[in-house]
Structures are given as C-alpha cells and as structure tokens.
C-alpha cells in the first residue's frame, strides 16, 4: 500500500527536524526517535470515523482522570488547595509529589466520577480561581526547580457570570504568560478533552503530549457544528473538518508526541494507561532536566512562536 498523505507529511516533518540545529542535540535526537516511533505506529490518515471514536473515547465516563494518574504515578503526593485569594476551584487540582526520585509539581483539570463530584468540580471547567491556583503553584515550582507536569482534561473554561466577573480571559492569558516565564522543565499532556482556552491556559509547555485517544481543539465539535453548520447535530462532520485527534495535532506540529493507550482506550485498563503515561512523562522530563532555565524558556517560546501556517 502506498504511504498515506498523512504519513508523507510526517516523514517530511521528520526530515525537516533532522536539519534543524536550533533544537540542540538531546532535544533533537529525542524528537527524532519519538517521531520515528509515531511513524511506525501510524500508517493511515485517521478517517472521520476514527476521529469521532477519539471524541467519544476522550469523553468516556470511565476514562482515567488527573487524580487517577496522580494516584498511580506519584509518591508522597500532597494536594495544594486554593488560589490564596478567594477560592479553591475543584475543577483544577494542583500539588506536589515524587515521580520516581524527582519532586514534581502537577496541575490538571479534574472532572468528577459521580454527579456530586461532577457538580463540585464543574465538570472539569475551571473558574479564574482554578487558573490562579495553578499559577500560584508554578511559583514555588520555579523557585525550587521542580519540573511542572500539567494534565489537560477540560471541555473548556467555565462559561458563567462569576467566572467572567472574576476575569476569566485575563486569568487564562496570565497563566500562559507565567508558563512562558518558567525556568523549569514543563510537560503538558492532554489526557482527555483539551478544550480551547481552558486547556491552553496550562499547556504552554516545553513538551506537549497527547494520549492516543485524546482530543485537542479550539472548540467542541458540537459548538463548531452549531456555528458553522447551524446544527449541533453535525458534530461528527465538524470534528472531521477540524481534526482534533492526536495524529493530526502531531502532524501540524502542535504536539511533540503521542502517548499510547491500552488497546480499546485508556478506560479499559487504568493501570496500563498510567504506566504508559508515566513512561512518556519521565522520558520528557529526563530530556529536559539538564537544559538551563534560560535555554528552556528560549526554546519554549521559539516553539510556540513557530506555530501557524501562512504565506
């Protein structure tokens, strides 16, 4: 079978990377290996059905959430609460723990399992207080040199009156700015829904990963369909058009790698899903651990500033 267009693009990106001295030795070779692995895995351009399957799996009610991965991967976890201002947002968790021998700070959106928890956590949609909680945890992480992990899993930032009054837009912008400034290694992974501004607020990282069945998008398929097709029922069509799946995000250079999931999706085997995620997080942090802080910042900004397609 002839290579798909997707595969060709990936190969092109691979060969481009081989010629980019900017990225430096360790980063580059890590990148190459990762891309090579991706290439070996992906042989086909995802179809409209594949994409929709990702949408469904990313939202699967039994999919592991941030605190499931925390429980599986971190020792001595201590959850930090509150924005030290006027709230403690249940949709955003933050804390410190040990990933192997290394202390890390972790932030992430948290959905809920049952209806009470979902309500308490606003279905994983943070208020500005949630982003302020993340930011105030970035500060000691930077001071102590702890790498930062963010696990992204949100339909989006909370769309409500109080959220607006407390400065949702400004909080999302500032959280990105604080991440752009951090002088420690940062790794983000989309573990479910990477919904628009609510996601990117904590995803301006040195390495951005996606789980195989996660989605990452500027708008939900339903929202896009409602606006462009004038019919929220055309969500599947919309998803096929804006391609929120991991393979396409990788192809567009938006993410640095895909974290494999157990066959059938992460919800089928939480233990194995956590093991695979842990491997990718550790690998990413190891690659970044010896890079000086100023250099991390410079590369991080250069990476995000290169995103976009224009002529």
């Amino acid at each position: 079978m002839a290579p798909s267009e997707h595969e060709l693009r990936l190969r092109e990106r691979l060969s481009r990377l081989r010629n980019v001295p900017l990225l430096g030795g360790a980063r580059l070779s890590g990148e190459l290996e990762r891309l090579q692995r991706q290439l070996d895995r992906i042989q086909q351009e995802p179809t409209s059905d594949d994409i929709w399957r990702s949408v469904e799996l990313a939202r699967h009610p039994e999919r592991p959430y941030t605190l499931d991965y925390v429980g599986a991967l971190l020792d001595d976890w201590f959850e930090l609460h509150g924005d030290r201002g006027d709230g403690d947002d249940g949709a955003m968790v933050a804390g410190l723990g040990k990933l192997g021998d290394r202390t890390v700070a972790l932030v992430g959106q948290q959905k809920g399992r049952d209806i009470q928890e979902r309500t308490r956590r606003q279905f994983g949609m943070p208020y500005p207080e949630g982003y302020r909680k993340a930011m105030r945890v970035f500060e000691p992480a930077g001071r102590h040199g702890f790498p930062v992990i963010s696990l992204v899993d949100t339909p989006g930032a909370y769309p409500g009156v109080a959220a607006e009054q407390h400065g949702q837009g400004g909080a999302i912008a500032t959280s990105q700015l604080v991440m752009a400034r951090l002088a420690v290694p940062t790794v983000a992974c989309v573990i479910g829904e990477g919904g628009s501004g609510g996601a990117i607020a904590i995803a301006l990282a040195d390495r951005v990963l996606m789980q195989e069945n996660a989605i990452y998008s500027v708008i939900s398929p339903e929202g896009c369909a409602a606006i462009l097709w004038r019919d929220a029922g055309e969500a599947k069509k919309a998803a096929a058009a804006f391609k929120p799946d991991a393979a396409h995000c990788l192809e567009l250079g938006v993410i640095d790698g895909i974290v494999p999931e157990p066959a059938g999706g992460a919800h089928t085997d939480h233990v194995e899903a956590a093991r695979l995620l842990g491997d990718s997080l550790r690998e990413a942090i190891e690659e970044l651990a010896d890079v000086p802080g100023d250099e991390l910042r410079r590369r991080r900004r250069a990476k995000f500033r290169s995103l976009g397609v224009y002529a």
């Binding site: 999302i172 628009s196 708008i219």
Partner: protein
C-alpha cells in the same frame, strides 16, 4: 449540563444590515460616511461608538503621514483543507475582497505626538476579527518590530475569538502571541492595549489582557465567553451590563474607559511615560 464548549469561537456572520448603512443602533440617527469619518465614527447624538476599520483607526491615532505598514501581504493558508457549508478559502477570498485586507490585523510603524511606536490594529470586518495564523504571526512580528526599534507597542483589539477554520492552529495563536509579548517584555518595551467592541474569547485570553495598560472604549463587549453562550449554557440571569467595558472596569480588569477622541492624547501621554 451541556458539553458544548463555545468559549473560544467566532461567529463571523454579519449582523443583518440596517436599512441605512450608517444607522446608529442606539438612537437610530443616520449619517453620511464623511460625517462619521470626521467624528471618528462616534454618534454625535448619543455618543455610540461605531466599529472602526483598521486603517481608519490608524489614521485617527497616528501623526499624519507617519504610518508605514508592515507584512501587509501575509495570507492565511488553509492547513486543514477546511470545508463547512463553504470552503475556508472561499470565505477568505470573500473577506479579502470586501475589506481590502489580507487578514484581520494591520501592523506597522507610526508616531503619536512625535513619539515613535509600533501599531497592531485588528479589523472586525475581516471574518469577525478572528485570530488565525496570520493574525498571530503579524501580532508577533509587531512585538519584534517594537523590540528592535525600542518603541512601545500599541494594539487595538476587536475580535470574536479564534478562527475555528484553522482548527487547533488557531488555538495555538494564543500561546504564540503570549510568547511574543514575553519577548517584548524581555526587550524592556511596553504594550498598551485599546479594546474596541468586541474583544472576546481567544484574543482576550491572550495578548489583549497582557498590556502594561489596558484601555477600552465605552460599551465594548469584553468577555471570554459572550452573554449568549453564558445564558444558554448556565441559564443564569445576566446582570444588565454583563461583559461590557463598564463592568470590567468595576471588577478591576481595565485601567480606564476612554471616549474615542481621548484615545490619541492618552496614548501620547503614555508614550511619554514609557519613553
């Protein structure tokens, strides 16, 4: 609980045209183009601020003849081959024809009251001022140009949010522009933001909120999530001035609301302060 995330969206369908093209939506006065232009597109009867096109805005701000446009020819590609009811390429071509712009932002060098500055001015008429790759890149280049020339950046925003036809790449313009602002910070230069109606979603959640000084025009909608979506999603009763500049000022998100004729002299003052 709806899972619909429309926090960053752009709805680029134009409002149904009023009977007379320059009818004030507040007091229904009619104006000729040249009348409005002389009045900086402010209703003489009620003070309503009409939307202002990017070049008209620039002309109203800078010293005469001082503006030198940069990167005017940058065009959006169609990275996703996006096609909804119509192809993205067709929408782009149409917007270019109707606005005379290659995309929703104009950048360049200028001077205000004799002091040099860089300008980055959005144009809502181009696909609702939505931010795709070109807006992100041109804004970022404006940051670099300001840094290189050692002058502050003045940006006038007007946007419905990210341009969803560019999919995830439009979301990436948020961190991209944030990184550009941080590069500007490293160069020791200031950014002054003027938020015109509307400044919402992805633009508010990135560079527009990061100015050293945040100014807004009266009555401008400044919200991450607009009132319609908030109402639909949460069924909350909205306060009267929900999301307007006036509410944002009260809640501490803005430094000042300025009537349009005050903007140029205020920018002049701020350029002296940051000079």
């Amino acid at each position: 609980m709806s899972k619909i995330d429309v926090s960053i969206e752009t709805d680029d369908k134009p409002a149904p045209p009023p009977k007379h093209p320059n009818t004030c939506p507040e007091c229904h006065s009619h104006y000729r183009d040249d009348e409005l232009e002389r009045a900086q597109w402010v209703c003489a009867q009620c003070g309503h601020h009409f939307p202002m096109r990017a070049h008209a805005r620039i002309t109203s701000l800078v010293d005469e003849g001082s503006f030198y446009e940069e990167s005017a020819d940058l065009h959006s590609e169609d990275p996703l081959g996006f096609f909804d009811l119509r192809p993205y390429t067709e929408r782009l071509a149409e917007a270019e024809m109707s606005t005379g712009l290659a995309d929703a932002i104009v950048i360049g060098q200028g001077a205000i009251e004799g002091r040099g500055c860089e300008l980055a001015v959005m144009d809502f008429a181009f696909m609702g001022g939505s931010m795709g790759s070109v807006v992100g890149e041109k804004f970022s280049r404006a940051c670099d140009s300001a840094a290189e020339r050692g002058v502050p950046l003045i940006t006038v925003t007007s946007s419905g949010g990210a341009r969803m036809q560019e999919g995830i790449l439009s979301l990436m313009q948020l961190p991209k522009t944030v990184c550009a602002v941080e590069d500007l910070h490293d160069a020791g230069q200031a950014m002054i933001v003027v938020m015109a109606h509307p400044t919402t979603a992805g633009v508010l959640a990135s560079f527009a909120s990061l100015g050293d000084v945040l100014l807004a025009e009266p009555g401008a909608l400044i919200a991450f999530t607009g009132p319609r979506v908030v109402e639909q999603t949460t069924r909350e009763k909205l306060p009267e001035d929900f999301g307007l500049a006036e509410q944002n000022l009260r809640f501490g998100h803005l430094d000042a609301i300025l009537e349009r004729p005050q903007i140029r002299p205020t920018l002049g003052r701020l350029l002296r302060v940051f000079g």
